[in-house]
Symmetry: C2
Amino acid sequence: MADHVIGVDFGTLSGRAVVVRAHDGEELGSAETTYPHAVMSETLAATGAALPPNWALQDADDYIEVLRDAVPAAVAAAGIDAASVVGIATDFTACTMVPVLADGTPLSRVPQWREHPHAWVKLWRHHAAQPQADRINELAAARGEAWLPRYGGRISSEWEFAKALQLLEEDPPLYAAMDRFVEAADWIVWQLCGVELRNACTAGYKGIYQDGGYPSEEYLGALNPGFARFAAEKLSPQLAQLGARAGSLRAQAAAWTGLREGIAVAVGNVDAHVSAPAAGVVDPGRMVAIMGTSTCHVMIGSELAEVPGMCGVVEGGIVPGAWGYEAGQSGVGDILGWFVENAVPPAYHERASELGVSVHEHLAELGAGLEVGAHGLVALDWWSGNRSVLVDHELTGVLVGMTLATRAHEIYWALVEATAFGTRKIIDTFAAAGVPVREFVAAGGLLRNEPLMRCYADVIGMPISVIGSDQGPALGSAMHAAVAAGVHADIFAAAAAMGRCRRDVYVPDAARASAYDQLYALYLRLHDHFGVNERDLMRELQAMRERGAR
Amino acid sequence: MADHVIGVDFGTLSGRAVVVRAHDGEELGSAETTYPHAVMSETLAATGAALPPNWALQDADDYIEVLRDAVPAAVAAAGIDAASVVGIATDFTACTMVPVLADGTPLSRVPQWREHPHAWVKLWRHHAAQPQADRINELAAARGEAWLPRYGGRISSEWEFAKALQLLEEDPPLYAAMDRFVEAADWIVWQLCGVELRNACTAGYKGIYQDGGYPSEEYLGALNPGFARFAAEKLSPQLAQLGARAGSLRAQAAAWTGLREGIAVAVGNVDAHVSAPAAGVVDPGRMVAIMGTSTCHVMIGSELAEVPGMCGVVEGGIVPGAWGYEAGQSGVGDILGWFVENAVPPAYHERASELGVSVHEHLAELGAGLEVGAHGLVALDWWSGNRSVLVDHELTGVLVGMTLATRAHEIYWALVEATAFGTRKIIDTFAAAGVPVREFVAAGGLLRNEPLMRCYADVIGMPISVIGSDQGPALGSAMHAAVAAGVHADIFAAAAAMGRCRRDVYVPDAARASAYDQLYALYLRLHDHFGVNERDLMRELQAMRERGAR
């Protein structure tokens, strides 16, 4: 019975392919390929030239490596015949943008442009377009652009229009040479089937596509005269719904992957959004949090509501026929990783090694042993800015309460808590806007950090359900492949057959939850002070940082 | 010519003896003894029992070890005949309090009390008496006590009355058994010459002795009925001026030290205050900063002024016949030491080792190479509370501006800067109160950190002069020994003959000073937010910390 499908999840540092049995969702084998160039945030690998602060680039060719390595390796690991695979689908980080020629060739592959930083992929966490995002927001607010409330009132510097405007203003010749500015989610599909399409999900969430159109030429021209025809000229006009078939695997991609030419290739998708059906979530009111280096929160709603600071609400953005809400925290696992890399003294490394555990595990174990508040610390989880609900990537991290008795595991734990508080703030903001969260479903790599998950349950004060797969996004993609290949009629049927969720795995401890209410109140005071009332303080710090770095 | 004197400086972790030629101040030899029990802040060494947060105890017998070890070792290092020593003087950390019996025996030496934490020496940085300090301040303000403005409007939890009231309220039987509560500065002199005296310096700065008397019994009784007769019963009534002869070396102390019985023993003194004459500073308007684990600022003034948040102004508190001003920062080198111990990842340790420098030196070198503000950080230097100008030891450290690109040496440097901003805030507060600082003279262990000293000059925007001795306090004590022994007529003559100061060693860089003005403005905003307008936030954190630790 030839009903195998493949989902490929393109993450921040690697791509992961999973072979799935299409009728029941059983995962048969997987493989991962690390991007050779990882994330370029300090220097451009091609030239060694230093990059300005807040840049984050990738090499599009690294994504092709995943198709060449991880896909055949997953097939081998699954022990199946590659000929039995009937469809492939992909999901990607977003908003991750590739500047390309008309045939899809990345400008970074063109010798003339290779030394230009703007020729390379701008990863989602490229945060250097904040000045452009500020202007986008100010002008939209001043003009009362109807699309602005769909994004919580603020467009992020991470998104397409901010990134494009930065490219135009900092490298006009390259902008002129660029035929298309394409989401990596769509670019990889283009590579697989040779068809240039724009998936409804990123078009809506990251590309300001609302009610059938992009922002007007008048508005764009007011931002910058050279930007007036950006949407008309640099973006594909072909919108495509999630779950649809984009095309058929072309010969070159069949050669890369070892799969049969002509099998179904699904429309591109986003890692977070595709995780909802993977957890069996295709109905309203259940928030799926994909917790990894960053956290993305997605939720289906039957009604349109305007939630302050949400990333966006898009019709058909998660499943066809319903509103998809998205919110996010730009730094979560990233912050903990930063801490372990940059702020943990040798004694902890040695002790973790003696215990045969990772430094993360050692710190989390010690942190979880603390009574709530016993470290005397509270932090703001803004090392990578704040996506929801403040939508400001010039916000930065804060740590309050250190004494000479403070120890590294206490700070680590305060950072874990701060990310949990950030999640609670998002849940509270949705509820206040009339979109209550009735179930919290967790997915992503941080599920492995069990003390962290218990902390989240205590902080948000509700049970946490857990996706039944280690490979949520790839499984979700595989479902879309199954729909594109016609194995299931639609994503609802696919989710019912293939989705996996374990209910109420982490249940809050009442005493700790109550103590966290107090600590959360202090978090909120800091949040509003630095994020609302005195937001200029961090802006000034960032301005000094940028002047100092020049 | 028998004109040798010895100064012994009792610091936080060790005592240091220096042999000095009395007629010209030449330092002939020195030796140091580390206290065997160091600082007990987590457990009581005698029992292994855990101590509550914010405690800091010492063992008085460790101070005797310094007399037995460091003094003879310094004489040997100097290559002189011990019989040529004509006087000895001591200085101590303050307010460091010893509870004793009528004969001076520390209660910690009495088997019945040995297991009581309150029987041990409370080190200056014991910060657990903040609730008592709060009540002392509130009641004094409500009653309009005349002495309160002499202490900048707030009595510190580090000082005698707060520590004594905590002892009374937490261990009443021990309070009843205690015949005297004596400054370590006076206790060590008592051990040397058998005479119980109270030096004018600590009596004034730490003991609220003003205009010839202590706070009234009525006031003390209103704090706690059992406290009414504290000053009358538990403190020595014998006041003594700095530079006076306390008595003669007794036989047992001669046996400990190897010095001649009967030589002059000077009145006890405080490490910071005694450093001023060591730098030749015995005249108004020259601030001497003794920069070490903490920093103490002392300055002589011809007039009485009330400076908000100063530690105190005491007549004869530095030199006889003039007002002595004191201010301080509770954590400076301590904070940097905390950082190196608790927050520096292995790679820096390895690199420092490769370079053959200390981790401090490595971090300071990297930090000094940054453009001002290029790290994007600003910190509040309150790891050990804030002595001046906020006088609140429940204030805690703050760090703002971290991103995923922040590195350990940048945070180290932000901490260096924060301590410099704290110094500038003190200088500005003195100036605003009509006590301008016309010269800044640095002394203490942090002089060895040259990048830090350059940073201080840039931040305060004035040249920094430097004491001409590595052993400022001990040299200052030796001067007092010379006065007590009659070699010099008074401390002014001794300072002229023996003091050492190098003028304008560090001169500000105009561009960096100007950039620091901007960063200092941000520091002030954080300072006022957390220290004035929203002071309760850190109090709540500390309250949670204490509840959690129980």
